[in-house]
């Protein structure tokens, strides 16, 4: 059983090698729509998948945030990905499986996954 004592150990271990992260110029920004429409369509597992993938790959320059209704309820879950110095890319009807590809191809390899974008859906 996990305990708060164990958290204390993790803390002591982690404090030494804290990575400087976020708010830098090279930051990648991921925003997940988490309004009622997004949540009903499956935004929770999509958000979880982003957080997990990014943590697993230790992508310290990526911030994941949530926002309200992005405005196209029928295409939820919607995710916006912005690479530094580039226009934002809007992905629609996202799922945890699609998240793995977006992280690997777009965030890591800088290749937009065109087939998942709002442009391809409309």
């Amino acid at each position: 059983m996990k305990s708060l004592a164990e958290l204390q150990e993790i803390r002591n271990r982690t404090i030494g090698n804290l990575t400087m992260r976020k708010e830098e110029d090279d930051a990648v920004r991921v925003v997940v729509g988490m309004a009622t429409c997004g949540i009903a369509a499956g935004a929770r597992p999509v958000m979880s998948a982003f957080v997990e993938e990014i943590a697993k790959r230790n992508l310290a320059n990526v911030t994941v945030a949530q926002t309200g209704c992005i405005g196209v309820c029928r295409l939820e879950p919607i995710v916006e990905v912005t690479l530094p110095g580039q226009d934002k890319v809007t992905y629609v009807k996202m799922s945890p499986e699609k998240v793995a590809r977006v992280v690997a191809e777009h965030i890591v390899n800088k290749q937009v996954v065109t087939e998942y974008t709002i442009g391809a859906a409309e």
């Binding site: 059983m1 996990k2 305990s3 708060l4 164990e6 958290l7 204390q8 993790i10 803390r11 271990r13 982690t14 404090i15 804290l18 988490m34 309004a35 009622t36 949540i39 009903a40 929770r44 597992p45 958000m47 979880s48 957080v51 943590a55 697993k56 230790n58 994941v64 945030a65 949530q66 309200g68 209704c69």
Partner: protein
Amino acid sequence: MEELSLHILDIVQNSVAAKAELIEVEIVEDIEADTLTITITDNGCGMSEEMVKKVVDPFTTGRKTRRVGLGIPLFKLAAELTGGDFEIESELGKGTRILARFGHSHIDRQPLGDIASTMHQLIVMNENTDFLYVHKVNGNEFKLDTREVKEILGGVSLAEYEVMVWLLEYLKENEDSLYKTVGKE
């Protein structure tokens, strides 16, 4: 919504949007009374009386003002469909308290669902907001106070991978054990 925990996620997002510093989420399952009661209390910006009326029943206002959301009406409806009830109290500048009571064994009651992931996401994504989470199932109780967690962490972020993984496991294990011991009494 397929799960009560998704309603909770949605309703708590409103508290976050209302700039609450502390959000309390309490779930009480009382098998004997056959009720499941969810209470969400925040110290955010609150709402005027007029606003409360509008958000509970967005279709009563004849005028086409701004688009009013569906989160609260959906939560209310879900409770009422199980023979339960719904209460909302709010005061500008003070905060908001929303209570939804469900018939525990009612056929139309949605399952609680993945409450561990729900609370995990809320806590990790809103690091500057404190959460007090309490889940009671008959005599068993699980309580998580993020103020306590943050004190232990002493500046280490909840978003640190190891911390995040620990928190999810901690939530899952405690949630599971709430139900495991129920049968034994």
